[in-house]
Symmetry: C2
Subunit: 325 residues, 2 copies
Amino acid sequence: MAGVSRSTVSYALSGKRSISPETRRRVDDAIKELKFTPNAGARSLRTAQTGVLGLLVQFHEDEFAPAMLQYILPITETARALGYDILMMTENDGAEALTRAAESGMVDGLILLDVIDGDPRVDALRATHQPGVLVGLPGDTRGLDVVDLDFAAAARNLVDHLFDLGHRDVVLVSPPRHVFDRGGTYSWRFRDAAVQRASEIGLRLTARYGESQQPAIDANLHEILDESPDATGLIMHNDASVAALPRLLNERGVRVPDDLSVVSLYSRDFARWFSLPYTAIESSPGLLGKVAITQLTERIAHGDDAGPHGTRLVAAEIVDRGSTR
Amino acid sequence: MAGVSRSTVSYALSGKRSISPETRRRVDDAIKELKFTPNAGARSLRTAQTGVLGLLVQFHEDEFAPAMLQYILPITETARALGYDILMMTENDGAEALTRAAESGMVDGLILLDVIDGDPRVDALRATHQPGVLVGLPGDTRGLDVVDLDFAAAARNLVDHLFDLGHRDVVLVSPPRHVFDRGGTYSWRFRDAAVQRASEIGLRLTARYGESQQPAIDANLHEILDESPDATGLIMHNDASVAALPRLLNERGVRVPDDLSVVSLYSRDFARWFSLPYTAIESSPGLLGKVAITQLTERIAHGDDAGPHGTRLVAAEIVDRGSTR
DNA sequence: ACTGTTCATCGAATCGATTCGACGGCGACA
DNA sequence: TGTCGCCGTCGAATCGATTCGATGAACAGT
């Protein structure tokens, strides 16, 4: 319809060779007229690029699902801004899904969400030689690009915050014990850093395991509060538990911050959704996702030339909501 | 390596022609040895099928995001069970995204989540001639496959439930006014059915708009409760508001069900996440997603032969959590 | 011994894009 | 006027699968 060959159309579209203005106009007109859209399959066959990133989401029964959405959304949005679509895979056997997507060439790169120590998906990723980025820190990060929140810094920050206000007896509510056992390194990193800092500065810190499902959450929190009657501060590092806390403290007649100072770690959205009134380190899943995708696309474009592989720990600031005194 | 032609390998894999056991063994061995996986791009180019479904997720600022995940997960899982992967698109311009995915042949079919009346994505879907299923009911459903919860039946059910227990003065908290204005038909369908049933049976029902963001939620609920001091029952049709309700009633010193009977409409997961203790119609996003995907794959496989297009309203049962008397 | 079937396999065309090398036309320069 | 180079365009090969028609072997029937 434009009176030119297919190669000319291709060059007009990609701009990889010069095209006369006259020809370009005719091509554009014909494209509009015919509503032509390049076929993704053919393009990916020829170029070995798909414009799709695989997002591997892992759902653990014992984790708090709503928190996951905070990661997924910014990731898809950032990806789109960089020209990529997202293939979301939520299978239990994440390693198998990853391998399938990568080997069949459906994706240009992979994002692994909520990576734990010993995560089988990491081995699968190494085996495929596809670019990939982890969100969540495994034990062995050799040759991997990893992005995560700096949980240790966050923990120290919160401990200091309470200490500076004069608190000397504080309770930490961590994720459930099985999250520790399973390899959720964020739980270790937060708790260990908190414990160490507390002992350095002379703060009595009682580390407890929280729960992640009702009705265990309520029982567990009641028990923890009952057993530390002298504690004046509470550090919550457990999404499910902190979401239940306002109502529970209300039922117990505990006023915040008059009777108890509470600090935690969650995102702005999370605070909004659950009406959480606590001073908290503001984790930024959106930023994390953005950093991860940016890193991944760099790696896709430049391979090993995109710089050395490594771990990026993102620091977060404290947001004072007046729940401490 | 197996000493056969490519076509024989293809037939061995697909089983579309008979293959001698001996040859099949040699092919399988070679495939394992070479770690061969068919290239998705080439396959889709040849067959015009991708094994991918497009999932169009719409995020309205004024809606309650955590609820969305309840739909997304079962959808990806059901899809995978039927052999499909999910391409997730969350762009603001959903119509554009839909068109892009469909026209470039990236997907075999489309799922539209949270469809409203006058949704531009519906027009885009009609224009593509791709199989598609809507979750959420628009005004005009001609020629469309639609799946949604039966909100009208749910509303009548809850009204009857309170009436049968002797309540005669009840308040309904709906979604925010702009959800009605925007075309969220579930808000109309629920409210209109509730109002009509109430007038039929002689129940005084005050329909109010709820809010969806703090701190407006709290102020709004306080106002509603203050202005209907004689109401003995509360019907909550508003995720964000009902999530805040337990704490708020606690603060007001209102006991459930002694001082007030509360019923609502939400899923089991939602109740768990937010520790909601109310008797509720148990919406089942998982079932909805499953029905939608099943319908879509039928449509992909058999086109118009898969039966007439139409709307499936899924009914849901009431779960008594003891919040009424 | 010849014909007709059935079964397993092969060769070649095809899907729709990208890309490389080639080529004709034209202006610049000697 | 002849040569060189550049610019814009074209033709053909290619990516990796699927699929149709053809082919040869084995075997049964007359």
